[in-house]
Amino acid sequence: MALSAAQRGFDDAVRESQRTFRLVLDAMAHAGRILRSDATLAPPPPLLSTSASIILALADFETAIWLDEPAADCPAVADFLRFHTGARLVRACRDADFAIIAAPARMPPLASFAQGTPEYPDRSTTLIVQVEALAGVGWQFRGPGIQDSAHFSATPMPLDFPQQLLENRARFPRGVDLVFATSTEIAALPRSARITAGPACTSR
């Protein structure tokens, strides 16, 4: 099988993995801060270049990836991920180290992913959520990585997403961490983030 241009991975895996990781680390260390990504990958849709570079930088044969329905429906996505990462694709989201969400408005509840155990809360799923827009307004957060408070919102998300975030924080130190990606930006909400105010989010 010839690799089409759409299936190319990193040109310089060492450099690009490092740069992508530092961007994600920066995002995770500053909950709700929106960062510009210079990802140039051209993965098969519905994968975005931003989320594809995150998964290529972090996943390998030691990790399991779960795809939501729109991503799983596209065989090219599975081929792309298997070829470039060697990661296992799993059917149950509670078995996943990473989950890729292409249709966030219809995503499964956060509680259905791996939450880790009280002794090993790190054994949990990191969600990579592809959204249309990120904004520095809306929900208000406090907690580690935030100097005072931070405003952040992503659209589209499920209607009860703020409630789910509250519950995710209530499970701390268990819980899931979220990395949001648009085609040009990323942001993260680690489980340590406390949602303190904001409107119920709009869903489409």
Binding site: A13, V14, R15, S17, Q18, R19, F21, R22, V24, L25, M28, A29, H30, A31, A57, L58, A59, D60, E62, T63, D97, T117, P118, E119, Y120, P121, D122, S124, T126, G143, P144, G145, I146, Q147, F172, P173, D177, P190, R191, S192
Partner: protein, 291 residues
């Protein structure tokens, strides 16, 4: 590039870096929690900063500027050899200036100059588990952290008071992170503990032999454990640095001869050199004049 060409960038292979990077992201998301990781053998013995080196190797990029300190000094064996290690294996720029560095690997000190947002401080950690000398079983300390059962640590600090009249722990002084996990700040002097609280820089901790990584995101609440009637007190020195005259900083005792002579100087060599190079710096004060 001739030296670097023999190794992957920054020595570690990419799969190892990915494994460490995944652990780092979990560590940042769960501040103060010790994430197990598959620590590799490094071309230096355990106890020489293999955990810190692996963390540094995993975050470092070609544009980073690295500073390495050992007890505050840029010019001691451990600091020099780790700095050279990354110069050779990553070909990156290094510095001794705290303000110029993007990544600072440290053994046992936090620089005196305030850290900035965007900087990463990597600690070399010998024993990551603050409860280890109180409870040797890992299964048990895991459960204590899970249940937030930290009574034992308070008993230990109380026994300090009962025996010495004050909390006698002066380094590796336990802290509570964001009101949840008790964390060992590595054997930094307790003088440095307040610098961890709400620090704008990202702080990463690597314990190579013990195979644990933990982290403090920027602007995280870090409280040194104490009692209402025995509040945490920062170490105070009754003198200043004999080279630059700085006060309110951490001092090292330097033996000057074999007849008991010694002098006290800044532990942070970059801070001391900066003060002495600055035009407004006063002439070094004489000890007798100070006290």
């Amino acid at each position: 590039m001739s030296d670097a060409a023999h190794y992957n960038f920054a020595y570690l292979d990419e799969q190892t870096k990915r494994m460490i990077r995944r652990a780092l992201l979990k560590a940042v998301a769960i501040p103060g929690y010790q994430v197990p990781f598959a620590s590799r053998e490094m071309p230096m013995p355990y106890g020489w900063g293999t955990g810190g080196v692996q963390v540094t190797a995993s975050v470092l990029g070609p544009d980073d500027i690295l500073k390495v300190i050992d007890q505050g000094a840029d010019d001691t064996t451990n600091a020099v050899s780790i700095r050279k290690f990354f110069e050779r294996t990553a070909g990156i720029a290094t510095t001794t200036h705290t303000r110029d560095a993007t990544v600072i690997q440290t053994r046992h000190r936090i620089p005196e100059a305030p850290l900035k947002e965007g900087q990463i401080l990597v600690y070399q950690v010998p024993i990551p588990e603050p409860l280890r000398f109180l409870e040797p079983r890992e299964t048990e300390t895991r459960r204590q952290h899970a249940l937030e059962d930290y009574g034992l640590m308070h008993v230990k600090l109380y026994e300090d008071i009962a025996r010495h009249g004050h909390i006698a722990t002066t380094y590796a002084y336990p802290v509570k992170v964001d009101d949840r996990y008790i964390m060992d700040p590595s054997p930094t002097p307790k003088f440095d503990n307040p610098k961890m609280d709400m620090c704008p820089a990202l702080q990463l901790f690597g314990a190579g032999r013990e195979k644990r990584i933990y982290a403090l995101p920027p602007y995280t609440k870090v409280v040194s454990l104490d009692f209402e009637d025995h509040p945490f007190e920062r170490t105070k020195f009754d003198r200043g640095c004999e080279l630059c005259g700085a006060e309110g900083i951490y001092l090292d005792e330097v033996v000057t001869d074999d007849r008991g002579g010694c002098m006290y100087v800044c532990s942070d060599t970059d801070y001391c050199e900066g003060r002495r190079a600055a035009p407004h710096a006063a002439a070094p004060p004489i000890r007798e004049a100070r006290r």
